[in-house]
């Protein structure tokens, strides 16, 4: 069912709140992967507040949908979403990156409640997501597996090994989002290692591939609903996004892949995001 106007309003506000919190954590922690956290914020909000069958009070519920952040350096953004969704106290975000904290740059599934899979080294998450999807099939469970991949991350050979295996085994219960924000650390993806024609690659690897905005909640939710209904094999939602989305001085700037924010920039960034 398409988003109602009220849902759209609520989710937009949630997305703005989540983005402002990402900015705060970046300020508190001394530095974080803010660019790629902001670019995937809308995808995460739709998954965690609308589409995933989850219960934050029961993170081990066996029938829950599984989520894997394959681009594990977005751990800060993921942690903000998990806290806002009630997996652990918001207060925990204040010690992000600190010695002894449950939360650091790349989330540890033993420590961060709600984090299914420890990631951080690029090109591991999709493989594990395929494993989760095949696991559901063998166990005759109907939970679905969702995974977010980075565009730079897609340079890794293991992404394509995983892609091939998902298509081969026709994992109709696996939905991937590609955070196509056009930047990796050293610059624009097409300049460092070209990915285009990217959608064609995924199609050639046997994935039902949809190109969609990663920020237009209505369009994105339509694509997710298509993917949920599609059972013949894995679906790739190739999401066109903006690195640093929401913060005017970060948008599309490679330098904001990772960075710190002083108090004044935190305020500027939050003002730029607004209330949603």
């Amino acid at each position: 069912m398409p988003l109602t106007d009220q849902e759209l309003k609520d989710l937009s506000r949630t997305a703005a709140k989540v983005r402002r919190d990402m900015v705060d954590v970046t300020g508190w922690s001394g530095g974080a992967h803010i660019g790629g956290s902001l670019s995937m914020a809308d995808i995460l909000v739709l998954l965690y507040w609308k589409y995933m069958r989850i219960d934050p009070a029961k993170p081990d519920w066996e029938d829950r949908d599984r989520f894997v952040l394959s681009k594990g350096h977005g751990g800060m953004g993921h942690a903000v979403v998990l806290a806002n969704r009630g997996y652990f106290p918001m207060e925990d975000l204040k010690s992000f990156n600190e010695t002894g904290s449950k939360l650091g740059m790349h989330l540890d599934s033993h420590k961060a409640v709600g984090c299914e899979i420890s990631t951080g080294s690029m090109g591991h998450g999709l493989c594990q997501a395929v494993g989760l999807a095949l696991g559901a099939r063998v166990l005759k469970k109907d939970w679905r597996t969702f995974v977010i991949i980075g565009d730079g991350e897609s340079d890794e050979g293991s992404i394509w090994e995983a892609a091939m295996s998902a298509a081969h085994y026709k994992t109709g219960n696996l939905i991937a989002f590609l955070d196509r924000n056009h930047y990796m650390i050293d610059g624009n993806t097409e300049k460092i290692m070209s990915l285009e024609p990217f959608a064609d690659k995924w199609r050639a690897f046997g994935w039902e591939t949809i190109e969609v905005s990663g920020h237009d909640l209505k369009a994105l939710s339509g694509a997710i609903e298509f993917a949920l209904d599609y059972k013949k094999g894995p679906v790739m939602l190739l999401c066109e996004t903006v690195k640093g989305k929401g913060v005017d001085f970060m948008e599309g700037k490679a330098a904001w892949h990772y960075g710190g924010l002083g108090a004044d920039l935190v305020e500027k960034a939050k003002a730029s995001i607004g209330e949603g």
Binding site: G100, M105, H106, D108, S121, G123, D155
Partner: protein
């Protein structure tokens, strides 16, 4: 192979302001001007590892493979076969583990002239956590035949290692930190020799053998133990893990009878194990202990806190030295026969 002498000389001022990886970038750029066969390779970490400095100067000899370490190491092997001298840079965790078999089979098996500069070694990437800590890399790469393995103590020694690895016609793995570690040296020491340990502090009661960031910590500990406790600690900077300086180790066993190894690495397979192999093979007895990461996955945290946790910092080394000195092992009256 043409030898290249770097023309860069480091003033204390510069090097103390620069991280080891920045120094590496500058030295490599300088070497690149002398040796036209040098090529630089990175995997979306040109800036982070500082090999990008070389790329800025020699864009036609610099290749960024995107986030694809396995391919990068394979390509480096091919380039070396073609007659080039590739310098490959990524984080230690990815150089040793992601690209592991490409390093082992393509580069080491074929004994190719490829230099690997692995940055962010040990726990130096603190808050990034276990995925980005490399506390098993020395253990892994030490087992590759043909490979020389170097862990410079600081930026000054990194400059020396990068220059002198050019003299070896074969693969070299140089492991450096993130660059915020204090310097063990006050200036570049031209007498640096691959495979030859450096006595950084004289001593007769115990020898602390260290590499990388623990050299500075061991030195501090030695100074404090000397003034506060009258304990005479020899500090050996074992910058080359392979081939290891057997002579220096056995001399330390004979002279001090107590050996403590300290490394920002798992206690399994790294510096401590390499030293233990030498001691065990010699038939000489001594008190021996390894300090390092006790075979656990490391948490997120500031690097200095992690070194404190694992007792690889000054305090930890002092504590361990005192503990070993308190042991009553010399009751063994056959000691003289053994050494």
């Amino acid at each position: 192979m043409a030898k290249a002498e770097s023309t860069v000389t480091w003033t204390v001022y510069d090097a103390l302001k620069m991280s080891a990886r920045e120094i590496y970038g500058v030295v490599l750029t300088d070497l690149g001007g002398v040796n036209p066969n040098i090529v630089g390779l990175s995997a979306d970490l040109a800036k982070s590892t500082q090999i990008g400095a070389f790329g800025d100067k020699f864009p036609d000899r610099f290749f960024n493979f995107g986030i694809a370490e396995q391919n990068m190491f394979g390509v480096a092997a091919g380039m070396a076969k073609a007659g080039l001298l590739p310098f490959v840079s990524t984080f230690s965790a990815f150089a040793s583990m992601r690209a592991c078999e490409f390093l082992r089979t393509d580069i080491c098996y074929q004994n190719l002239n490829v230099k690997v500069i692995a940055t962010h070694g040990g726990t130096s990437f603190g808050s990034a956590g276990s995925t980005h800590h490399a506390f098993e890399d020395l253990s892994i790469v030490r087992a590759f035949p043909n490979l020389t393995v170097i862990v410079p103590a600081d930026g000054f020694e990194t400059a020396q290692a990068v220059k002198k690895c050019m003299d070896i016609n074969g693969p070299v793995y140089i492991r450096i930190g993130r660059g915020f570690e204090p310097s063990a040296y006050a200036a570049e020491d031209d007498t640096f020799e691959i495979g030859k340990a450096v006595e950084m502090h004289p001593g007769t009661d115990i020898t602390v053998i260290a590499c990388g960031p623990t050299v500075f910590q061991a030195l501090e500990a030695a100074k404090i133990l000397q003034t506060d406790g009258g304990v005479s600690v020899r500090v050996l900077n074992m910058h080359t893990i392979k081939p290891i300086d057997k002579e220096a180790i056995l001399k330390a066993v004979t002279d001090t009878r107590r050996i403590l190894t300290v490394e920002d690495h798992n206690v399994i397979g790294g510096l401590g194990s390499a030293v233990a192999d030498v001691i065990a093979g010699s038939g000489k007895g001594c008190a021996f202990e390894k300090v390092g990461i006790p075979d656990v996955f490391t948490p997120h945290g500031y690097p200095e806190d992690l070194m404190h946790l694992y007792k690889t910092d000054t305090d930890g080394i002092i504590e361990k030295v005192r503990e070993i000195l308190g042991r009553d092992f010399e009751a063994d009256e056959d000691w003289e026969d053994e050494v």
